[in-house]
């Protein structure tokens, strides 16, 4: 499962190249590779309902630290005026707990400081919107 960790880190590096503000900090993906991949796939089921795109493809997943003792998820917002942070955090926690089981605690952090840019959107999401 090391390939999954490497893939996440490559995606992270690519996404932060053109970031601004705190976006210059790299995304963090650490811990057990199998758990990381499970958690990432679970988070890819959490959608922004208006866009119909999941938070991973939107580039809102800033960090994952997955160990058998604790899974930490750091997510961002597309804008400081977005009223959905708690809602998305709740769904993210439920999604991750749904795949890793109830024994591992899941902490979700909302990072309001880091500024999101459209450059973080994945090619797949852009294709779904008819942009490429």
């Amino acid at each position: 499962m090391n390939w999954a960790l490497e893939l996440l880190q490559k995606m992270s590096a690519r996404r932060t190249e053109s970031g601004v503000g705190e976006a210059a900090a790299p995304d963090r993906f650490e811990g057990d590779a199998a758990l990381l991949e499970q958690a990432r796939q679970a988070l890819a089921t959490v959608d922004d309902p208006e866009l119909g795109l999941n938070i991973v493809d939107l580039g809102l997943l800033y960090g994952l630290n997955a160990t058998p003792e604790l899974i930490e998820v750091e997510i961002g917002l597309t804008s400081p005026s977005c009223p959905l942070p708690e809602h998305i955090a709740r769904q993210a926690r439920a999604a991750v707990k749904g795949v890793v089981g109830g024994d591992i605690p899941v902490d979700v952090t909302i990072n309001r400081k880091r500024r999101w840019t459209p450059d973080r959107v994945s090619p797949e999401a852009r294709r779904l919107l008819g942009l490429s």
Binding site: E50, S79, S81, P83, A89, R112, L129
Partner: protein, 369 residues
């Protein structure tokens, strides 16, 4: 997590909405006003400075994660309460102005966090609410106050649409166009006070510019191709845009008198056709966000949406054919559509709670502001 303050504010917004709708039914002659009641006079303030301002103020407070910002919806709700009880309309206007002032401070804080064109549009919308409320407090209700309130909703929603559509990576043409549309709408408001016909025509031009921007650059044109809730939201948005275009054309081409059926058409196209369509679009997302309750979207939500737009079309037709009976029936149907929508949402939340009661429980979320 159960958040009592949010539920209290939402209940206050719901009370303002119900009272505002009832006042509207009294105005169009669908129901008889109670003896001595002045409720019908406060239809506009209840709908905008009490209902919309409380709801939007709460949404802003949650978005920014600032406790002091909850004072804005609390004051808006208190303003509505004063109107419903008939205690002091003057004090209601002052409270509504104070609420808008706090909301303005929130808009400045949001702009400070992310200085961007869409934030500027959001802030301009809030200052239109502040201006309208101050005009109300100083001179009482007037058509100009109603149009400043319209500016509030138009500019707030415009800002939100640009914010969401950033994913499309707009270029200078889009940003320039949007900026001119927003500036035209904003400029029309003070001009209305000096020369109402010039202000109305400028407002109409601004609405047309904004509608064209929405048609060309808004993401709803793309998300309407998706399924379920995402498509429903896009349909509601696009339906609202048609009323914006209609009002823009009405004002820009002919101007409209600030009274009678033309005035009624302008106000209700903006407040019912555009603003309530936006409410119908976003409520299935915003209410779960504010309450932590699950609220699954259901296809039946299309029914009140269709009823809202059909009844508004009937209302505008009633003005053209001068039928007070049709106007009353159409207005009552619009009110019924709004109540039906919220009843369906409540039903969906209750059903979800019964099916999956554990979904309302959650652990803590760390909010790194």
């Amino acid at each position: 997590m159960f958040r009592p303050l949010r539920f209290i504010l939402l209940a206050a917004a719901a009370a303002a909405l119900a009272s505002g709708l009832w006042a509207g039914l009294e105005r169009i002659g669908w129901v008889e006003p109670a003896t001595g009641s002045e409720l019908m006079l406060w239809h506009g303030p209840l709908m905008v400075s009490a209902f919309f301002a409380t709801l939007i103020g709460l949404e802003r407070a949650v978005a920014l994660g600032e406790r002091w910002l909850y004072a804005a919806p609390a004051l808006s709700a208190a303003s509505g309460l004063l109107l419903v009880t008939g205690t002091s309309p003057q004090a209601a206007a002052v409270l509504a102005s104070a609420a808008a002032g706090i909301l303005g401070a929130g808009a400045v804080e949001a702009f400070r966090r992310e200085p961007a064109l869409y934030m500027a549009a959001l802030a301009t919308g809030v200052f239109a609410l502040l201006g309208g409320n101050i005009l109300w407090a100083i001179d009482g209700l007037s058509p100009a106050v109603a149009l400043w309130w319209a500016g509030f909703l138009l500019l707030i929603i415009a800002g939100e649409r640009l914010e969401l559509s950033r994913i499309l990576r707009h270029g200078p043409l889009s940003h320039g166009w949007f900026g001119i549309a927003v500036a035209t709408i904003a400029a029309s408001l003070p001009i209305l006070l000096a020369n109402d016909q010039a202000g109305l025509r400028l407002l109409g031009a601004g609405l047309l510019l904004l509608t064209l921007w929405l048609v060309l650059f808004d993401i709803a044109r793309r998300t309407v191709r998706q399924q379920g809730l995402t498509r429903y939201m896009a349909v509601a948005l696009l339906a609202g845009y048609t009323w914006l275009a209609f009002t823009g054309a009405l004002l820009a081409l002919g101007g409209e008198p600030l009274s009678g059926s033309g005035y009624d058409a302008v106000l209700h196209s903006i407040f019912v056709g555009f603003a309530f369509s936006m409410v119908f679009a976003h409520a299935p997302v915003i209410f779960p966000a504010l309450t932590s309750l699950d609220l699954p979207w259901r296809p039946i939500f299309y029914l009140p949406l269709a009823l809202l737009h059909v009844s508004l079309a009937a209302r505008l037709t009633s003005g053209a054919v001068e039928s007070f009976e049709l106007r009353a029936a159409a207005g009552a149907t619009s009110a019924a559509a709004i109540l039906l929508f919220f009843a369906l949402m409540a039903g969906s939340a209750v059903t979800a709670r019964l099916v999956s009661p554990q979904s309302a429980r959650e652990g803590p979320t760390i909010d790194r502001a």
